[in-house]
Amino acid sequence: MINLMVNGKPREAEDDINLEKYLATFDVNLRFVAVGYNGEVIKKENFSGITLSNGDALEIVRPVGGG
């Protein structure tokens, strides 16, 4: 297992899991969602190409009402 920081909170994940699979574990509807990976914004088509490692930081975001 690896330790990640996801949306500011520590979480565990399986070794060698890629970002696409990891997101799938949350059953996230990816429409209107974006992901920051260690401070970089990752395009959806590249999710599968990113293998998560211990200590990675993810920001999984969506739009909310704001002015």
Partner: protein, 263 residues
């Protein structure tokens, strides 16, 4: 008469940009946006609730055929945060437009001029259509225009304060010097605030709390629609000058006399 607002080549017939924060209900918001006639609405970017990853988002309530989305960087206190959130917002919404906010001050939510300028330049170079939220500082506005911002968005007063436009003199000068649309943002409370901004030559206004928190958001949205139209038409119609003395609106001669004392 075609009189569109044009931002980065995109045309808008409405000069009212509306925020989507602080509505009491989605029904209120949908009604208010509709009534306001707006064609551009702002959204914020926040962390997804991973315990509830499929809840509807604000965009599920906004018809993309009716409204252009303007993601903001609200909540960002540094250049780095603003760049990151701007890029996340682009990924979420698919638009290059961004309302840039770099706000270290939690009490008045006033923006940081130097940090905003730095972030604006980087985002422009990254292909964004940057609409920076700024203090009504004419020199800052000019520099933001010089680095390629698509508009400048000087504040009227503190966000959500409902104090109206304290910065009329500065906004007037920003408009006088600007080659990009000036959008007055923040503090507007009533349609007369919006109308006044457009009468001065502002190209648009951004309104959120004044509509969202009104007792009747739908009716207030409609009121702002009318106010913005009023202000723009007055700007185009050419207002009368200010005079120190009165000018009679009725003829001063030939007033009938009860007895012909005066002739």
């Amino acid at each position: 008469m075609s009189d569109d607002l044009v931002i980065a080549g995109k045309h808008f017939t409405s000069r009212l940009i509306v925020g989507t924060g602080r509505y009491r209900s989605m029904e209120d918001q949908v009604e208010a946006l509709e009534a306001s006639g707006t064609q551009m609405v702002t959204v914020a970017i926040r962390r997804l609730d991973l315990d509830n990853p499929n809840e509807k988002t604000i965009l599920d309530y906004i018809d993309p055929d009716k409204y252009n989305i303007l993601p903001n960087t609200a909540g960002c206190q540094t250049v780095e945060e603003a760049l990151f959130v701007a890029r996340l917002g682009r990924e979420v919404t698919g638009t290059d437009f961004v309302k840039l906010e770099v706000i270290p001050d939690p009490k008045y939510l006033f923006p940081d001029p130097a940090a905003t300028l730095e972030a604006a330049e980087k985002l422009v170079n990254d292909g964004f259509v940057v609409m920076p939220y700024i203090h009504a500082d004419p020199v800052l506005a000019k520099r933001l225009e010089d680095v390629g911002c698509a508009t400048v968005m000087p504040l009227g007063s503190a966000i959500g304060s409902g104090q109206g436009i304290h910065t009329v003199e500065e906004v007037r000068i920003i408009i006088e010097q600007a080659n990009v649309p000036v959008v007055v943002d923040a503090g507007l409370a009533v349609p007369s605030d919006a109308s006044k901004a457009l009468e001065l030559g502002a190209e648009a206004v951004l309104v959120n709390t004044a509509i969202a928190q009104a007792e009747n958001p739908g009716l207030m949205g409609e009121a702002f629609k009318n106010g913005v139209e009023a202000g723009r038409k007055a700007y185009l119609a050419g207002r009368i000058p200010v005079r120190a003395y009165a000018q009679a609106s009725s003829p001063t001669a030939d007033v009938p006399q009860p007895a012909s004392a005066r002739s």
